[in-house]
């Protein structure tokens, strides 16, 4: 029963990773942009929530809801101001620009908030756990997994059934032809990045309730999210959910044996997938080309 419970806890942890990763997966799939500042933007949003709670005296949930439109706007502005241009400049530019942005954000946060770990008081939606037989259902983790399902389900439905989704899919297939069909690509990309950053901000803030937040937290956040995307397979949002869950389960199960090796085990899982199946578990052939540069 304990291993069953451990697996369940791993699934919950993985739900949090997937919620962070879904934005990375979306930007990756639509724009071929690897946003290396993804985790740092989530951390930024978390600090913003703590600052709003302190400055405005609003409860956690209100600050979280206030932050989401700001995160969307920040994502859209970054896309219009930096990422669009980087994508036009060349294949290496997006990596250089987003990595530079990541270093800027980390040092900016360190100078503003110091390097110490800061707690995020969750207030009303605190972490009370329900027990079901031998299984533990921690409230916050259940919420994160549920949100991951809602966000991924909602995005998949929106991509499939709405006009916005059709435009996004068309642009993802071929930007030039999408333009010829009259799709305005720049505002479309801005909405995609806005949604991606808002989802990451939501995941980061909820995650920080249990772990606290510090300026360099974004590095590990990005690595786990990236691993979830790659393991699941580029271009598949549900694959990203499964990738996140696989990482979470691996970490929790290994940590039962040896805590120091838990993170290492999930990193090795990622490298193993890269060697054996670089297109990911649910990836398409096109994704494999993205990973390997379609080399001879």
């Amino acid at each position: 029963m304990t291993w069953l419970n451990d697996t369940l806890q791993g699934i919950f942890v993985g739900g949090g990773y997937a919620l962070t990763a879904v934005g990375l997966s979306l930007m990756f799939g639509v724009m071929r942009l690897v946003n290396l500042a993804h985790g740092d933007l989530a951390v930024c949003a978390t600090y913003l929530v703590t600052s709003m709670m302190a400055a405005l005296g609003v409860p956690f949930l209100a600050a979280l809801l206030l932050m989401l439109p700001l995160a969307f706007a920040a994502g859209a502005v970054l896309q219009l101001a930096l990422f669009d241009r980087a994508l036009r400049t060349g294949p290496l530019a997006p990596l250089l620009v987003t990595f530079g942005l990541s270093i800027m954000i980390q040092n900016l946060l360190q100078q503003t908030y110091s390097a110490n770990v800061r707690g995020v008081p969750a207030g009303s939606i605190d972490v009370s756990a329900a027990h079901l037989g031998g299984l533990v259902l921690p409230g916050l983790s259940v919420l994160k997994l549920a949100l991951a399902l809602v966000v991924i389900g909602g995005l998949s439905a929106a991509l499939r059934f709405t006009g916005w989704g059709r435009r996004v899919r068309a642009t993802s297939d071929d930007v030039a032809i999408a333009r010829l069909q009259g799709i305005r690509v720049r505002p479309l990309f801005a909405t995609v990045t806005g949604i991606a950053i808002a989802a990451a901000a939501l995941a980061g803030t909820l995650g920080a309730v249990t772990t606290g937040v510090y300026p360099t937290l974004g590095t590990l956040t990005l690595i786990f999210a990236f691993e979830a995307v790659v393991i699941g397979g580029l271009g598949s949002l549900w694959g990203t959910l499964l990738g996140g869950i696989l990482i979470g389960v691996t970490q929790v199960l290994v940590s039962q044996v040896s805590v120091p090796y838990a993170t290492l085990a999930s990193q090795l899982l990622f490298l193993l997938v890269l060697v054996v199946r670089p297109e990911g578990l649910f990836g398409t052939g096109e994704a494999a080309g993205q990973a390997t540069g379609a080399e001879a």
Binding site: F28, V34, L36, L82, R85, A86, T89, G90, P91, L92, A93, P94, L95, L96, V97, F99, G100, L101, I103, M104, N107, L108, Q110, Q111, T219, I223, F226, E227, V230, P260, Y261, T263, L264, Q267, L268, F270, L271, L274, V275, P278, Q290, A291, T292, G293, A294, E295, A296
Partner: protein, 353 residues
């Protein structure tokens, strides 16, 4: 800097040649400016080598930092600027070099003599790690190499015989006379820089230069015209790793101590990116200029904490988006300068009146 193979048709000369006359052009690689630069560089190395006798070891210590920064930038540029492989995981080889030197020292080998062995250890490790990375490109390659460095970091922190998370010290050197040790460290760091930057320059002038530029620009097209893409990438990766191994060995020699959190730090990759991008990606001169700029920023703005990194990051983003050729690329592109020429140039003869 556009590369021209000898024998490619020359662009139309300013004055069309008279019918029947051979095309009045000359293809050359070297130039007077290059001779002057090379001579100046040789003199500069000799002067720098004499420095410990003149300025004392207080000033040579920061110079060691500068030399190692410049060496790292040159090697990172070899990967990113020529072979098209952006790696955020080269700190892995800094760590391997440093820990290899520590282990060799414990086995009784003099640290300064062990540097080539530490470099070789890093190269061997790179040849193995390249098997994991070889099919990847772009963002996949960048993040996967970063994860490899994270794995090494996590592994070292769990290993008691490598000092775990607290790190290891280099006992042998602590007993040396400080002045002698610091001078030796300085000369070795200078030698590492000359080997990394000079070796990189010679490598880029060889056939590898053309192969790697083709590979970095468009691997499919490169393979189609007969470039051995994987061999070129592996060569660049392994040789760069050997250089990073030597630099890692110098980090523990100059600091007498190393801990996993600092040597496997992603900030090394950030520094390398800043130096190379600001100086000029894919140029020989650029990374050296970038190293000078980063070093100056570190020295001047150190008292303002990490703000200088925010500024340098913003500068790097601006350079990538607004002037992708970097500072040196802007200057050389506008003036047609090439102090350390890599490509061939076609010049038209002026007919004497």
């Amino acid at each position: 800097m556009t590369m021209k193979r000898p024998g490619t048709p020359a662009p139309p000369a300013a004055r069309p040649p008279a019918a029947g006359a051979t095309a009045p052009v000359q293809v050359s690689r070297w130039s007077t400016a290059a001779t002057v630069t090379t001579a100046c560089a040789a003199v500069a190395v000799v002067l720098l080598a004499l420095a410990p006798y003149v300025i004392g070891t207080n000033l040579t210590q920061p110079m060691v930092t500068l030399f190692l920064l410049a060496a790292m930038a040159s090697l990172w540029n070899l990967l990113a600027g020529y072979a098209g492989m952006i790696s955020f995981g080269q700190q892995a080889y800094l760590g391997i070099g440093a820990y290899a030197l520590y282990l060799l020292g414990r086995a009784g080998i003099s640290p300064f003599a062990a540097i080539p062995l530490a470099a070789a250890a890093a190269a061997v490790a790179a040849a193995g790690i390249f098997l994991i990375l070889r099919r990847l490109s772009g963002g996949y390659f960048a993040v996967a190499s970063w994860v490899v460095a994270e794995c090494l970091f996590l592994y070292v922190t769990t290993q008691g015989w490598l000092g775990g998370g607290t790190g290891v010290g280099l006992q042998q050197l602590s007993s040396m006379v400080p002045v002698v040790r610091e001078a030796d460290t300085y000369w070795t760091a200078l030698a590492v820089l000359v080997l990394c930057a000079g070796g990189g320059y010679l490598l880029v002038r060889s056939r590898f230069g053309l192969d790697s530029r083709a590979t970095g620009g468009e691997p499919v097209a490169a393979a189609a015209v007969g470039v051995e893409v994987q061999r070129t990438r592996r060569l660049a990766y392994v040789l760069a790793a050997a250089g990073f191994g030597a630099i890692g060995a110098m980090l523990i020699i100059s600091g007498l101590y190393i801990d996993p959190a600092s040597v496997f730090n992603i900030n090394y990759s950030a520094d390398m990116l800043f130096m190379v991008v600001i100086g000029g990606l894919g140029t020989i001169e650029g990374p050296l200029i970038g190293a000078l700029i980063l070093f100056a920023a570190q020295q001047v703005f150190a008292q303002y904490g990490a703000w200088y990194l925010v500024g340098i990051g913003a500068l790097a983003i601006a350079v990538v988006l607004l002037a992708p050729a970097g500072l040196w690329g802007m200057v050389s592109g506008r003036r047609g300068w090439s102090l350390l020429p890599v490509g061939y140039r076609v010049r038209s003869h002026r007919r004497s009146p």
